[in-house]
């Protein structure tokens, strides 16, 4: 098993804070779950606690950003993306403030805690607002690359990561391009486009397909917005079949975005895998994925059924 992406975010912020005195971290009683408690100890002058008040969290972050600070608002994705969605829309996106929103424990990380704690609509909601980028990194190496890019720029972004450690997909040597899909594996018969937790599962699905003589490409679309449109069109044209898989409602997420691109530019068969438009069963993240058939076998089977 690899490392939790949220730990890498904490690491990059901890490394950047001494160099960027304008960097400030804000939590909503979430420093523990965000792995930020050591940051609060080490940089009290750059750490703000707002209490359990997500609207205030984002509003205060926007006010700080408007005065030249570089705020990182770190809070569970479920609350950050819904309780404060209007602050994201008005105070961050509309007012064009450089706020980085870090949604931790995204998707069904808090599986057994119920729908209140699931963030399965966040990508649809945040992506539909102009002036903000949306990222779902898949492993520690990509998270580090993405964060090192984000700490350098001055525009808003929403980053969603899982609670748990995610399996390594890459190595320390892997070269990434910012806002470009990562080709995890080349292939010619079908493409699986995945984000976050599902990139490693997609890679395994591709291996299962290879055993059956099916050549499967795997793309890691960590940059959900701006999505790498060229990579999607290329996959549609070259492999003719696309499966998308994400830890999100099948409405309005990666699958919807990919489908729009293919429909308009390179029509091909697309299968959208994700969480159903329904209440989910009680269980761990893994158990919910299994229940929904979102296993390497399930993904491989969906890909095969397109051919």
């Amino acid at each position: 098993m690899g490392t939790a992406c949220k730990q890498i975010i904490a690491d990059v912020l901890t490394e950047t804070a001494p160099k960027d005195k304008d960097l400030v971290v804000l939590c909503s009683d979430s420093r523990g779950s965000g792995n930020m408690a050591p940051f609060y100890e080490k940089f009290p002058e750059q750490a703000i606690e707002v209490g359990i008040a997500e609207q205030d969290l984002v509003g205060i972050s926007a006010g700080l950003a408007s005065c030249g600070k570089h705020p990182y608002a770190i809070s569970p994705a479920s609350f950050l993306s819904t309780r404060s969605i209007e602050q994201i829309k008005v105070d961050v996106c509309y007012s064009k403030t450089n706020v980085k929103l870090i949604g931790i424990s995204g998707g069904v990380s808090y599986g057994a805690l119920g729908m209140s704690h699931h963030a399965c609509q966040d990508i649809a909601m945040v992506s539909a607002i102009p002036n903000i980028r949306v990222y779902i990194p898949s492993d520690q190496y990509l998270t580090r690359f993405m964060m090192e890019e984000l700490v350098k720029d001055n525009e808003a972004a929403y980053v969603r990561v899982s609670r748990n450690a995610t399996e390594d997909v890459y190595t320390p040597e892997t070269k990434f391009e910012f806002n470009k899909a990562v080709t995890v594996k080349e292939g010619t018969d079908v493409t699986i486009i995945a984000v976050g937790e599902f990139v490693s599962r997609a890679k395994k699905a591709a291996e299962l397909l290879a055993e059956k003589g099916i050549s499967c490409r795997v793309l890691d679309m960590y940059c959900v917005k701006p999505i790498d449109k060229e990579a999607v069109i290329k996959a549609a044209e070259e492999t003719k079949h696309i499966v998308t898989v994400e830890e999100h409602s099948i409405i309005g997420g990666l699958g919807s975005m990919v489908s729009t691109i293919t429909a308009e530019n390179a029509p091909c068969k697309v299968k959208v895998l994700g969480l159903p438009d329904a209440e989910l069963i009680c269980g761990t993240q893994e158990e919910i994925f299994d229940h929904e058939g979102l296993t390497p076998e399930g993904i491989a089977s969906a890909a095969e059924s397109l051919l």
């Binding site: 984002v58 006010g63 005065c67 030249g68 600070k69």
Partner: protein, 274 residues
Amino acid sequence: MDKKQLKAKANELRCDALEAIYRAQTGHIGGDFSVIDILTCLYNGVMNVSPEQVDDPDRDRFVLSKGHSVEAFYAVLADRGFFPMEEYINTFSQCGSKFIGHPNNELPGIEMNTGSLGHGLPVGVGMALAAKLDKRDYRVYVVIGDGELAEGSNWEAFQSAVHYGLDNLIAIVDRNGLQISGSTEDVMASGDVAAKLRVFGWDAIDVEDGNDMGQLLEAFEHCKERNGKPHAIIAHTVKGSGVSFIENKASWHHHVPNEEQYHAALKELKGQVE
């Protein structure tokens, strides 16, 4: 500017806002006229702001949380030279205009976009915190409507401002007692706002006549004290202040005057300017 000059200025600016609303056939005249004395006072006698220092890190910050009173805000900013008054009046709410029906921070002098209520104070807390972190002396002024106090986000910020001892933050409540559906006390009673805020830990004062420049100047002077507490001014204003037939009527929240009413309002306001 003394208090008489400030009042004359506010009445001149009421004429400009009226003109913009009448031409565009849209606007929120009731709240504009209750808050315009507060804005005129802030921009001409209190705040350290000017068109020459829109990016000065030491400038005072202002957020109009009751963004629908933008017609008054644009008039006050135009008068201070942030942009031409004529451009505002001629293009307000027109297709492609920068003069949108709520504050637009692509215009010089406007810090943040507002419109959805309950957003200004949390943002103001962030700005005041930034001043503290950067050890700068500027102050942050946020104007809130009284109907807007029903938004819970205000109360999150009323707490956090005290938690961080933001004595560089001044919240002004435009307490005109009316909102779109009627009396604030009937719609959702705010009661004694100053008393509530004092319990929260704010230095809160009532201004008996929030359309009186002398009383406003005195209140703003009081709020310059750095006593570890955020400051609140509950300005008891008259909705539609300055035009007798608009005053104190909830129906004028966003009613647009017809030709006869426009001329009658202008005549009454011009009499006050002179």
